[in-house]
């Protein structure tokens, strides 16, 4: 269903000066903060966000208000960390929120920090996003100058410093415990949960709330308009609006804020108001519904609503709001390779099934694509996958410290499950070539070796190919 809702967090995207403090103040900016500091207790703020059932927008979809309540009572200091590491393939919305409306995020950070009692807040922006960092640094400087951040904010008892931190190129740092390691100045390797749930033992082993950029950008609106107005939008557990990036083989790739829970995949992919259908009048082959970690969807899933529970039950996830559409001309083996290679490249190397498994998946796929595949390779791929993600279930069973390893299995089980014939065709061609020219086999070995990443060296977490 296509509904005509006013955008909540992308409302200022067409306002050219929205990233400036004047542009933000002119359009209601910092009113929610004033309102909170004038008359709301921290507990009331937390209640309001809980009532809004604001689901986290970073991937896991956990309710933000509930998370804020997980800090152990009486343990101080607490910290608040914003996850602006956006790098899940297909995901493109946090960068826009940072570049176009940085004050909206800052206001959300301040209100959240007030609610949880944070001693300091950090906005961690992906290293590669120079403009987002520039806009955020300026926005923070301006917000300090006008008394929205710092000592005794707007004359109240609320005091906090908000510091911009930035990364240096590593997808895994988007995982919240790896992000905390990075913020402590370490290699960005995830910590084991339990015991290191950030809300209990996070930054400097203190209670830490980690939230996504989009999640916190919703907070000022919820405070100003009330949770009831937020929950009036959406369906089931998925309330408010959500921002989706629709990319790939569509007529109008774009970033669209739609009503959560009711808009369907068909609406957002096919409707002229959004992505406008498959390019060149082609047929849909498949689509990734929620970022590279998500199992793929097909024609029969088009009428599912963009609703967390529904999509989970259908065997995938909305993840980070990244819809990547492939038309019938797409080579499924190549597409699979692009995603699997990503995970092999980005594995931090801490767990054996992920480090070795993803590397082998990439190598085997590489040799299939290069024309050296063997008939046993498809079973071998699934066997390796099963060692990373036992039973290849959804949601995955984990043999690893974080979900990155099992994520690499999603594209493989999807592509191989649905388009096995395409893999077999590559292998049949390889077999035919081998029958004509048996000597090629030696080349296959050398080739596969050349392209592999050497994870045995403790140098970087994977090299460029």
């Amino acid at each position: 269903m296509i509904t005509d809702v006013e955008p909540i967090i992308t409302a200022r995207f067409d306002q050219p000066d929205a990233h400036t403090i004047d542009g933000y103040e002119r359009t209601g900016g910092y009113q929610a903060l004033r309102q909170v500091l004038a008359s709301w207790s921290p507990a009331r703020v937390a209640e309001e966000i809980k009532d809004a059932s604001l689901l986290g927008r970073g991937g896991a979809g956990f309710p933000a208000g509930v998370k804020w309540g997980f800090c152990p009572p009486g343990v101080w200091p607490r910290y608040l960390v914003v996850n602006g590491d956006e790098s899940e393939p297909g995901t493109y919305k946090d960068r826009l929120l940072l570049e176009r409306d940085p004050h909206q995020l800052i206001e959300g950070v301040l209100i959240a920090s007030y609610a949880v009692g944070a001693a300091q807040a950090f906005i961690y922006i992906r290293g590669e996003m120079a403009l987002a960092q520039e806009r955020m640094a300026q926005a923070l400087n301006d917000a300090y100058a006008r008394g929205y951040i710092g000592k005794n904010i707007l004359g109240s008892a609320f005091s906090i410093d908000v510091v911009m931190a930035w990364g240096a190129g590593a997808y895994i740092v988007g995982e919240e415990t790896a992000l905390i390691e990075s913020l402590e100045g370490n290699r960005g390797m995830p910590r084991l949960k339990p015991p290191f749930f950030p809300a209990a033992k996070g930054l400097y082993m203190q209670p830490t709330i980690v939230n996504n950029v989009e999640t916190l950008s919703n907070v000022p609106w919820i405070v100003r308009h009330g949770a009831a107005k937020f929950t009036a939008l959406g369906a089931e557990a998925s309330k408010g609006t959500r921002v989706f990036a629709v990319s790939g083989h569509v007529n109008k790739p774009g970033v669209y804020e739609v009503e959560f829970g009711v808009t369907t995949f068909r609406d957002i992919i096919m409707d002229p108001a959004y992505a406008g259908g498959i390019r060149d009048g082609n047929q849909l082959k498949c689509f990734i519904p929620g970022g590279a970690s998500a199992p793929w969807f097909f024609e029969e899933h088009l009428d599912l609503p963009l609703e967390k529970g529904t999509v989970d039950r259908a065997g995938s996830m909305l993840g980070s709001g990244a819809i990547v559409v492939m038309d019938h001309t797409t080579d499924a083996v190549k597409a699979c390779m692009a995603v699997v290679r990503f995970f092999a490249h980005e594995s931090c190397g801490k767990c054996t099934p992920c480090r070795e498994g993803t590397t082998w998946l990439e190598r085997i796929l590489r040799r299939i694509l290069d024309g050296y595949g063997r008939p046993s390779d498809l079973d071998l791929l699934m066997d390796v996958a099963d060692n990373i993600s036992p039973g290849i279930a959804w949601p995955p069973k984990q043999t690893t410290i974080c979900p990155l390893g099992p994520s690499a299995v999603s594209p493989l089980s999807s592509a191989l499950g649905r388009f096995r014939g395409e893999f077999e065709a590559y292998i049949a061609r390889a077999e035919a070539a081998r029958a004509e020219q048996p000597v090629v086999l030696a080349g296959a070995h050398a080739h596969a070796h050349d392209h592999g990443h050497d994870h045995d060296h403790d140098h970087d977490h994977g090299g460029h190919h």
């Binding site: 207790s41 921290p42 946090d94 000592k151 005091s159 930035w166 240096a168 790739p253 990734i288 990547v324």
Partner: protein
């Protein structure tokens, strides 16, 4: 082979002062070193280690994990061509191939004149603008071969100097917290001693108190 300049050392101390623990400043300080020299030198890492109070091996340990940090000189312009799924579907591999042919180097290499380095990179969060690339982390969207060629011409001729600084410089605006506005940046131990923040019971009504 440079340590941080006196001006950059002042900046480094200011950055360190924004964190509860000095080591947290490592990544920003490594960026500062890379901004100064175009890559991260051994001397800069030793200097950063002194400033932060860790060994230079620990600095290298952090530095070597992150792909943006270069331990050797690279081109004045680092061109990152996205080859991940959304760009791949829309011609990212072909764009990379064109870039390699045009500049006469393969991904990962630098042109002999030291001007350009090409890298094949994973998703850069511009998926709806595919195929996309970055030059020193500044975006170019929907890049076709002609657009790539004129980009290279413009960079060579210095026409983009205002928009695209040499490799190493990210944001050209730095955060600065004036001393009289600073709230409370102290170590976790000191913060623990201070206990519950002052505002936690602001505007409390008795009914809410029971729940808190």
């Amino acid at each position: 082979m440079a340590r941080l300049t006196p001006e950059n050392e002042i900046l480094a101390r200011e950055i360190i002062g924004r964190y509860p623990r000095p080591k947290s400043a490592l990544i920003p300080l490594l960026h500062l070193a890379q901004e100064q020299d175009g890559y991260v030198t051994d001397d800069a890492m030793a200097h950063i280690a002194e400033l932060v109070g860790v060994t230079s091996a620990e600095v290298l340990g952090t530095c070597s994990f992150y792909e943006m940090f270069k331990l050797h000189p690279c081109g004045r312009y680092v061109i990152n061509v996205c080859t991940n799924i959304a760009c791949m579907l829309c011609g990212g591999d072909e764009l990379l191939h064109h870039a390699e042919e045009t500049l006469g180097i393969t991904a990962g290499a630098t042109t002999p004149d030291g001007l350009f380095t090409i890298e094949a990179v994973e998703c850069i969060a511009a998926c709806t603008e595919a195929p996309a690339l970055q030059v020193n982390y500044r975006y170019r969207y929907k890049v076709d071969n002609d657009a790539f060629d004129s980009l290279v011409d413009d960079l060579r001729a210095g026409r983009l100097n205002d928009e695209i600084p040499p490799h190493g410089t990210l944001a050209r605006v730095r955060q600065h917290i004036p001393d009289d506005k600073r709230a409370f940046i102290v170590s976790p131990e000191e913060a623990a001693a201070a206990g519950e923040p002052a505002w936690m019971h602001a505007h409390e009504t008795p009914s809410v108190e029971g729940g808190a």
